[in-house]
Structures are given as structure tokens and as C-alpha cells.
Symmetry: C2
Subunit: 412 residues, 2 copies
């Protein structure tokens, strides 16, 4: 596929481009977004009109809007990515071996990244910014409902690249809605190094099942909070409500509360009061329902990512019971324990096999910026390569670089 060959060729150039020029390109894109905001909004209006005419649900149409506020958010984000340290060319370690060989692992770009995502124009700008800064070429396939918006954003990005004598094909925005094109792209493992799908579970499963290229992803976030009897009730309640209610629609929002049996009598009524106050629905296990009034949770509830103001609640015998529940029903995304017991904290950290495990903190802290990555392009629950929130470094690989002074093994 020509588009892949073009990406591969562009990848060679951007991989050796200086930090300064990459930053200049990012800042230039930010400038152009500001300068061209009327054209962007008018392209976005076309998409919105088309979406409304095709009878798209009003809530979904609202997601497509690329307003002044969203444009300003992208401008800020690009400036921020420009300020982040460039991982490329940095050494993870650099040692001198006993024989005098100098051995380092140097960070290099992955090469060509394919992003497949739903109709969210801000991802187009964000992914382009991340990939340029990390020295990768990227192919962007966004939802076809925002074709016109993505097209003008792509033009702006490509113009900025060309102004700095970089190949426009560093960023290719696919403006076809042909689904066979995606199928073909997912087979190009000779040309594409990584696929990052972002969107609903259906989209991610489709990409995963049809790709011959490594995919970094998370399907869903069924996140847990385990409240131990030793926990401070007020602190536990704060963490539960922050994890659940701050942004119920995000993947690291809390979905299931596990309470140690000895804490249930005191904790559940307090939870119930707070839930009523903020209109949070509870679905509880039979034992919990003897203490508080709540809808009964079914087996299905324990596996459900509500992404809504609903919380499933279960009483567990002890920490082992909690860990086993998380292993059985969880999604290896984000899980937290509230405890005052140091050995429980250690056991939870050791045994819960999730990409982010917290002690006495809200699941909302699973966020690239909060964890010191500067920003994030996605969250992975994979074991290979990157895990948890992914920043610039997670879009890189490394090579061993070895400096000798005529070293031969035979005569070392």
C-alpha cells in the first residue's frame, strides 16, 4: 500500500529530526489552529449537519463538536507536548563493561503507528502531536462522522511539517470511510509497527481480532475499591465517591466496591446516605442488602463497566476474597485499597495484577499527567511493552549502542 510506503519513508526522516525542529512544528500547528479556527469550525459544521441529516443521535452529535473551547484545549496541549523532554536519543543506561566496552540502550522511535479511533477530532491533533514529538510517523483513521474536520486538521498539520522541510506524510489523515481500507491496513505488519485503537470495546475487539500488527489497548475498565475494616470511614468514603463520581464516564472510574465484612455495618449506611445525596445508584450483594436498601446485583454486574452513576457493592470475607474477586471479574485496569494496615497494603500491591494499583488514593489518579508522564496518549492493560498510562517514552523502543576501541571477542 502506497500510504504505508509513504509512512515508512517519512518515519526515517522524523526519526532523526532534532528536538528543536519537532517542537517548532508543534508550536506552528498550535498557531495555525488559532489562525484557521473559523475554517475548522465551518468544516466541523458540515460534519455536524451531515450527522444530523443522517439521523445520528443527539448525544452522539454533541461529541463531534469541535468548538472554540476544544480548539483552545488542543493549542494548550500542543504547547505542553512541546515543553516535555524528548525521549529520542536518550540513554536508559550507559555502562562500561570490565573489558572497556561502553554499552547503552538508546531510545529510538517505534517507526510507524496506526491510530484507529472514534469520531473525536481532538484525538487527531493529540495523536499527531505525540507522534511527531516522539519521532514516529502516524496514520490516523478517525470516525467517518468527522471526515471534514479531520481533513482540515490534517492539512494544517501537514502544512506545518512542510514549513520545516519535514515530509508531510509524517502524519497521514485517512479521509476515506471505506472499511476494507482498515482491514488492509491491519495486515501491513511489514510497514506498521504498532496499532493503538481508542474507543468502545467493540471497536477495540474488532482491531484486535483483525490485526497482524501488535496492538496496545485496554478493552474496558472494571475498576475496584477494596475497603478494609481497618480503614478510616471518612477517608474510604471520600476515595469511593471521588473514584466513582468525579468522571463516571471514564475508563478508570470505579465500578465495584468490595467491603470487608467487619466494616460493612458501619460503612454501608454512610455510603447509602452519600449515594442518595449525589444520585448514585447502588447494586448490592444479598448480604449488603440486609444492611442497606439497594437493587440486587446480578452475576453480570460484577463484570460490567457502567460508565455511569451506578456502583456495584459486595461484602467480602477478607483481603484474599477481595483479591480473588478482582482476579475473576476485573479487567487489569485500575484497583485501589483503603486500609491502615501496612501488610494488607503490601499484599494488595503484590497480588492484584492490574496496570495501576493504588493504596489509599482515588482511581482518578490513573492519569498520565498525575503520574508524572506529562500527558498521555492512551492506557494499556497489556503485559508486553507499555502498561498503564502511555506517554512519549511509551511510544519509543531502544537499541543497544556499543562503543569499542577495536574490541574483538577472541582477543578480549
Amino acid at each position: 500500500m502506497k500510504l504505508c510506503l509513504d509512512a515508512r519513508e517519512a518515519a526515517r526522516s522524523i526519526s532523526v529530526t532534532s528536538t528543536e525542529i519537532k517542537n517548532n512544528v508543534l508550536l506552528r500547528i498550535a498557531e495555525l489552529l488559532n489562525k484557521e479556527r473559523n475554517a475548522i469550525k465551518s468544516a466541523n459544521d458540515q460534519d455536524l449537519q451531515q450527522a444530523r441529516e443522517s439521523g445520528l443521535d443527539r448525544v452522539l452529535v454533541e461529541r463531534l463538536i469541535f468548538s472554540d473551547e476544544k480548539i483552545d484545549g488542543r493549542i494548550r496541549s500542543l504547547k505542553k507536548i512541546a515543553e516535555l523532554p524528548d525521549p529520542i536519543g536518550q540513554y536508559d543506561e550507559f555502562i562500561t563493561r570490565p573489558n572497556g566496552l561502553k554499552v547503552g540502550r538508546m531510545r529510538i522511535p517505534l517507526g510507524v503507528i496506526l491510530m484507529i479511533y472514534e469520531a473525536r477530532p481532538h484525538v487527531t491533533v493529540n495523536a499527531a502531536g505525540f507522534c511527531i514529538k516522539s519521532g514516529n510517523a502516524v496514520i490516523l483513521k478517525g470516525g467517518s462522522e468527522v471526515l471534514e474536520t479531520n481533513k482540515i486538521l490534517g492539512d494544517i498539520i501537514r502544512n506545518a511539517l512542510e514549513e520545516y522541510q519535514l515530509p508531510a506524510n509524517t502524519v497521514q489523515v485517512i479521509s476515506s470511510s471505506d472499511r476494507t481500507l482498515v482491514q488492509d491496513l491491519l495486515k501491513q505488519d511489514d510497514y506498521i509497527d504498532l496499532v493503538i485503537p481508542r474507543g468502545g470495546e467493540g471497536l477495540i475487539r474488532y482491531v484486535n481480532e483483525n490485526s497482524r500488527i501488535p496492538v496496545i489497548k485496554h478493552f474496558k475498565g472494571v475498576c475496584h475499591c477494596y475497603v478494609e475494616a481497618s480503614a478510616d470511614t471518612k477517608s474510604a468514603l471520600d476515595i469511593v465517591m471521588d473514584s466513582k463520581m468525579l468522571m463516571p464516564e471514564v475508563c478508570n472510574a470505579l465500578e465495584t466496591l468490595l467491603i470487608e465484612r467487619d466494616a460493612a455495618q458501619s460503612f454501608l449506611p454512610a455510603l447509602k446516605d452519600e449515594a442518595e445525596r449525589v444520585h448514585l445508584k447502588l447494586r448490592a450483594c444479598p448480604e449488603s442488602r440486609k444492611i442497606i436498601d439497594a437493587e440486587e446485583a446480578t452475576e453480570e454486574d460484577w463484570r460490567t463497566e457502567y460508565l455511569d452513576t451506578v456502583l456495584s457493592v459486595k461484602i467480602v470475607k477478607d483481603i484474599d476474597d477481595a483479591i480473588n474477586h478482582i482476579e475473576k471479574y476485573g479487567s487489569h485496569h485500575t484497583d485501589t485499597i483503603v486500609t491502615r494496615n501496612i501488610s494488607s497494603a503490601e499484599k494488595f500491591v503484590q497480588s492484584v495484577d492490574s496496570s495501576v494499583v493504588l493504596v489509599n488514593a482515588s482511581t482518578m489518579f490513573n492519569d498520565g499527567e498525575e503520574l508524572g508522564l506529562g500527558a498521555e496518549i492512551g492506557i494499556s492493560t497489556e503485559k508486553l511493552h507499555a502498561r498503564g498510562p502511555m506517554g512519549l517514552k511509551e511510544l519509543t523502543s531502544y537499541k543497544f549502542v556499543i562503543y569499542g576501541q577495536g574490541h574483538c571477542k577472541k582477543t578480549k
Copy 2:
């Protein structure tokens, strides 16, 4: 598949086993190898007899031999793995954020690893040792020509695990030669986290094309040495001969020599003399053949991994020409430059996209032990996860571990 469920269950136990117990198991396997060496050799004899009877080529039969010397090698290797630092539970970094959150990336095992390899019994012991030490469960599928040898080695390993109350299924040796079993295993992406194929290019391509699980691999090593005109002739010749002749059969052995035009007149006759002395065959480009007598290299030669005492030789215009040749014909494995020019060294390091790039050193130094990994289980030319030689740490993943003191995002 029951075998995968068993592996997954064993993986949970071995993942939280202490370093001390894991080391004890390794040392116990070493003891048992010594104690049971007669039984091992007699099982191996059965395999050898079967192989001879089935008319297997004599050279191939020799590869199957698991002699006292090889058993001793494995005993030493297990002791060495026991001495290496345990990556599990170590933190790559541990920072305190401005809000007081403590954030670390803790090394964890990958989970279940599937090794598919040819009829080399030493891999059975080595892979088991590596996986146990790194807290992983492993399914070992070796070549069917050494079924009996692998079976007894598997029994020894499993006995040692059980002596320390660890699940025997931490290491499962497949003693079936049923190829559909391998096909089925390669589809178990819900249970197996990583496949490492080791063997010829055919085996590796088969695994890669049939797997739904991430595969870490290198297909082949078409390794280059670029000799610049600035190089010291003696040093360049030493590096070329060491890279080519020390172990011509290994993947990081040199296959193609690229010489800068200005160095050809002085370097090629010296190379020719040395090649004759050590019975190295040269296949050269037309321009080289005006200087020395050699067989003509075809287009195919530039892509060939000889694994033999043959070297292809090509004159290039300059370093850019050399880098382009390596990009076009190379396999991203191991490439070295011989130069006295610091800017050429930097350019080569930046631009050659191989897993190991050397300056003034033999390609033989692409070796886990030489590069400070302690030992290696394989070499990867992948961009995702691990690249270059893979040691214990490369068989691990990480999780983010976050310690708060009641941290909520809303009120941070």
C-alpha cells in the same frame, strides 16, 4: 485447553514466590541433573537411536546429543541464573509527586510464556531456569526428535518445583508431536502472554503467521560491517575476521562487508590474504573484483544469512551509501562500523535501525552476557517490548504502584 488453565494457575503462584525459593529450585534442578545424568543420557540414547533409524542426517543427529559436557554446561548455567539479581518486585523508578503521591513502576512477571524451539535439549533447561527466576510459568514445546530427553528433563524440573511446594505446572514440557496442538496453543491469547520461537527462519515464520499472541523473535541476522577509509586497516581486519570466523553459525556472525571506496585498494588485498589463510570464501561486487579475485556476488547474496564461512563484499561510495544498503538488505539485527571519525560513528549509531549497533567492535559482542544482562534467553529484532539480547528483565512487565494518604483528585 486444560494445559493453559494449569499454566495460568501456576503463574499466579510463581509470580509471588520469593527470590530465595526460586533460587533454591534452580539449584535443586542443577543437583538433580547431576544425580540423574545416567538416566538423562539413556533417554537421550533412545532419541538418538530413533533418529538414526528414521534416517535423520548425521549432522542433525549430532545436534540432538545431550552429553556429560552439555549437562555440565546446564548445571553451570542454572547456578549462574540463581546468582543473577531477581527483577521481580524491583522498581524502575519511584518518585514523589508534588501532591505527595508516591508513584513507582514495579517489575512483575509476564505470566505464561510459550517457547517453541527445535530439537535442542539445552533450551529446555535454560528456558525453564529463566522463566522460574523471572516468576513466569512456561510451556515448552521442543522438537519431537528429543521427546524422551525433554520428558526426563521436564520430570526433573517438575520434581524440583514440587519439593519446594510450588506447582509442577510452572513448567510444562509438551511431549506430543502433534502439530495441531501447536496451532491450538498459538490461538490461546487469553491464557498465554508471550511466544518466543527459537530456531530456523521457517519455524519462526510459521509461529509468527499462526499466532494471535505477541511473538518476540528475530527471523535472521544479515549482519554488516562498514569499514570507513579513516579506519586502521589492522583493526578493521581483526574486527571483520572476529565477526565472521569466530562462530560463523550464529545469528550475529558477519555476513556482508561494506568498504568505503577510498579504503578498497588497501583493504581488499589484505582481506583476501587473510581469507585464504582461514579458508573464508568471498563473494564480491564487480568493483571489488577489479581489485581482488573472488566469486561474483548476486543480488541474492546481499540478503543472505550464510551461517557459514562465506562473506559478501561490496564497495560503497560513502557512509550514506552504506546506511542505505543496510536499510535495504539488512535484518535489523547487528551492524558495526570501523572508523576513526567521531562524526561518522555518531551518524552510524543514529541512522542504522538495528537492535544492536556497534562502533569499533566485533558483532560477536551482541551477547547478553557481554552486554551486562548476565545471560540471555533469545535475541529480538522487534520494536515492541524488548530489543536485542533478552535477559531476565526482558521477561517482565511492570505495573504502576501508587501510595497515597487518602488522596482524592477533587480535593487534591
